[in-house]
């Protein structure tokens, strides 16, 4: 049962990745593209965290519960792998900052050209550039 739930989680996340890819490729609205991009980024982060998970019970977070040498062995035998979590924190920070940058770009595009549809921008952009 646990193995099935595990497989279900992995497959659902893969489907979420595909939905994100579909959104980036097929949606014309830049805001929707950004939302799809965040879906891809967050799904990838969850998948990386899952690499560090152990299918055992009980399972503990990678934080030493007691500051004693005796507790160390029990801790190492129950704790999850901390390295993927550390990498994901890095990825989350970068993802958030880059998403802010993209969002600012989209807002500015909307202010200057009055649309966020990629198809309309394709025509509006050269016309405005020529006018300038």
């Amino acid at each position: 049962m646990i193995a099935f739930l595990w497989a279900l989680t992995v497959v659902s996340l893969t489907v979420a990745l595909l939905i994100g890819l579909y959104g980036i490729a097929r949606k014309g609205n830049l805001v929707k593209k950004l939302i799809a991009l965040t879906i891809i980024g967050d799904t990838a982060n969850v998948l990386v965290v899952m690499i560090g998970y152990r299918l055992t019970y009980p399972i503990a977070p990678p934080i030493l519960p007691e500051w004693k040498m005796e507790a160390l062995n029990a801790f190492v035998s129950t704790a999850v792998d901390p390295l993927p979590q550390a990498l994901v924190i890095t990825a989350v920070v970068i993802g958030m900052a880059v998403n802010v940058l993209i969002a600012f770009g989209i807002i500015q595009i909307y202010r200057l050209y009055g649309t966020v549809e990629a198809g309309e921008l394709k025509e509006a952009l050269p016309r405005i550039l020529r006018w300038r």
Binding site: R54, P61, I63, L64, W67, D81, R111
Partner: protein, 251 residues
Amino acid sequence: MKRAVTLAIILIAVIGIAYAVTSKLPEEKNLRPLGQFYLKNSYFGDYSAKSPEVVTSILWDYRGVDTLFETAVFFLAIIGSLMVFRLTKEQEKELKGEPETSLPLPIGTVTRVIVALILAVSASIALHGQLTPGGGFQGGSALAVAPLLIIVAFSKYALERNGLDKTMALVIRSIGLLGIALTALVPLLLGRFIMQNQPIFPGEALGVPLGGSLVIYNLFEFLAVGAGFTAVFLLLAIPEEKFRKVLGVRK
């Protein structure tokens, strides 16, 4: 109707594929050697970071240079966002002096209480980063919610009147980033490696593990992230009509 059918097909496909691959997925029951090394050495051991929180010790000690460059990317992305929304001094002057919107009294009072709570909780998340889950980035993100809440409940101008304008946020953010860079350089000046933690920084104070330089990095990252997002929110809070008027956008 068509949507519901599509959704149902996707759901059934997901469950079916999951059932099919259940036996083929590897069941990871053991730690990898690298993870085991970090778990064993984070607090005890020869390569200790003196911190019981293993993720934070990886973040700022074992893989510290990764995080240093991650902070550089964060810095550049925020700078890029501010560049996109840049204004000249005259344009910024034009944006000032907006009357405040007045919401009912309880909203203001509750906001004041919640902002104080957010400040305390975010500082606790950041400064206990070497003991509990959390750290500089998580604390800073929580901190940035406080100005956002003030912008919504009062206005952007209430924040600026009390001294927290865009320049101030940028100064605080620069102090944070400068602190991270200097803390990374201190071991180099003492003839050790860059971003080395032990035994240069104190590992414990008053019986509480400090994690050496971890607490310093967390504090500065807290300031940098909180103030960076505050600057972003302040720019986003400029009223749209005013911004368009200043930019001279043709409708």
